[in-house]
């Protein structure tokens, strides 16, 4: 299933989603100035792509109520590619207004999950993407549109999600005007074999427009799943500092792949991410202090970098 001719990517990007996927999943509301400090320190640590928030109604997610201000601050940070999550056209209009570099419309390939979480069928979400594309084109803004196909490996409500349905919806998003698409294991159901199979098919369909992999570490397989995707040439992954975030259906379970652990794995493998891992660990400690009492995850912060790390990273 993997291709021996395909070398590992030489470069990879970790897209930070802690400020969105992470903070929206916990009770603590992190003040705007701390979010901005997080962004500033993340950029100083070498992070170049950050999902800074979500344009959802504040009554649904008060943690995300300041997304417009956080995005405005992100726009002042040189070299930062700032993305936001948008659940619908209304959110997309705010993203366009704020000149986000990228807006991500989540679609759940599980019909049951889609109805429960978005109150729309997946195909209604595809239609919404078409409207968002029209609005973007009419606005003259450069904001890119990503269709994020979630529950791509199964769903806590519906159970199995057919890969053929995932791929059909991915194609539909591209046909409706998505600039990019991504695949998310929203609930931690993926394994390296299913990642290898689905990403291989998705690559055949979307090519370079397949932009990102998003793996939750609910069952401890996030980094193994990243490895399976890396072997296919996928080189952009969502992750959250301290592994915060996660699925409300699995209380106490880990959230996203931990940024710092993934950064370590990639660097140890000789894949350049441009990240300063010591700076990421320092930022992790700061953020963990802000959200004291909330579950955090990851292994590197406890064990520290290997004595061999510098030698490996510069080899």
């Amino acid at each position: 299933m993997t291709d021996s001719k395909m070398p590992l990517p030489r470069h990879a990007v970790i897209r930070e989603v802690g400020l969105r996927d992470g903070l929206q999943s916990i009770a603590t509301v992190v003040p705007t100035e701390r979010k901005c400090a997080w962004l500033r320190d993340a950029v100083a640590a070498g992070q170049t792509e950050i999902e800074v928030g979500s344009f959802v109604p504040p009554r649904l997610l008060p943690q995300m109520a300041d997304t417009a201000q956080v995005l405005a601050y992100a726009k002042t940070l040189p070299g930062l590619f700032a993305s936001v999550l948008v659940p619908n056209l209304r959110g997309a209009e705010q993203a366009l207004e704020g000149e986000a570099d990228l807006m991500i419309l989540p679609l759940s390939a599980s019909h049951a999950h889609s109805l429960a979480n978005l109150r729309k069928t997946p195909d209604e979400v595809v239609a919404e993407l078409g409207r968002i594309r029209a609005a973007r084109d009419a606005s003259g803004r450069k904001t890119l549109i990503e269709g994020g196909v979630g529950t791509a490996f199964g769903c806590t409500i519906q159970g199995p999600v057919e890969p053929s349905e995932v791929l059909r919806l991915m194609q539909a998003l591209l046909d409706a005007g998505a600039d990019r698409v991504s695949l998310a294991d929203t609930v931690g159901y993926a394994d390296p074999a299913s990642v290898s199979r689905l990403f291989e098919q998705a690559l055949r369909l979307a090519g370079e427009r397949l932009f990102c992999g998003h793996f939750h570490d609910t069952r401890g397989l996030a980094l193994a799943n990243v490895h399976a995707a890396l072997l296919l040439g996928i080189h952009r992954f969502d992750a959250s500092l301290a592994g915060i975030g996660g699925c409300p259906h699995a209380p106490g379970a880990s959230g996203n792949a931990a940024t710092e652990d993934l950064a370590f794995m990639l660097a140890a493998m000789g894949i350049d991410t441009g990240l300063d891992i010591a700076a990421l660990l320092a930022l992790r400690e700061r953020v963990a202090g802000w959200i004291a009492g909330e579950p955090t995850h990851g292994a590197l912060w406890r064990a520290g970098l290997p004595k061999t790390f510098r030698a490996v990273a510069t080899a």
Copy 2:
């Protein structure tokens, strides 16, 4: 680095090392009858290979003082292939006396680690293996001899360990009479790329006599490292229930790959292990109760099996 022509193994074995690597690393001394209950329940859950203890002097590791009794009990369990760790000829004589199915002589490829932990150079350990082989052959016992090459990916004391030295020592162990050899990332320094490189070379050298991979999860990469080895056809991995064990040089860090998480990953990938994961999780809970207060690890016990699991496992 991976071979596209090589399908994933159809079967794999998880060798349980919780009773040895796990229990020797913690302060709690688990009574003999509980160790025997662990063995019985592990076999009932489908485990077929278990490292039951270590024939080291009781004054060094009181947790392992009952290894002869535990081995004797293990021998009564039908279908169980019982291994023990032996640090030297004296330990090997006890393993032969107890008719262990396999004895594992650890060798540290890091000279500094070898001197600090075994008070022998690696080549002195190779010579000891030669004496153990002679003793085994003279005894008429069927106990197999495995040379376990540890700190194969680097060392907390010495730092880098050259792959060429790892391979030289592996060859020397085979030449001295080892029936099998294995590679261990004793301190959690390995990554999927270094695993892929070293196991590929080791396979070329040892073929089917390369018996097992042993990955510590100190920095969260154990399952990604297993995945890299699986892609080369390696199909036996050490793991410990609840991920207990670990390296005294990284306090608080995770220990071995967690048996139950690895069992889940393999099953989800369609690789048969013969293990009943629900039974493993029940045993995990029991063992965690016996060692209350000691750090335990792993993700599956918290999140539970996916709703899709049965469908995947029987696909």
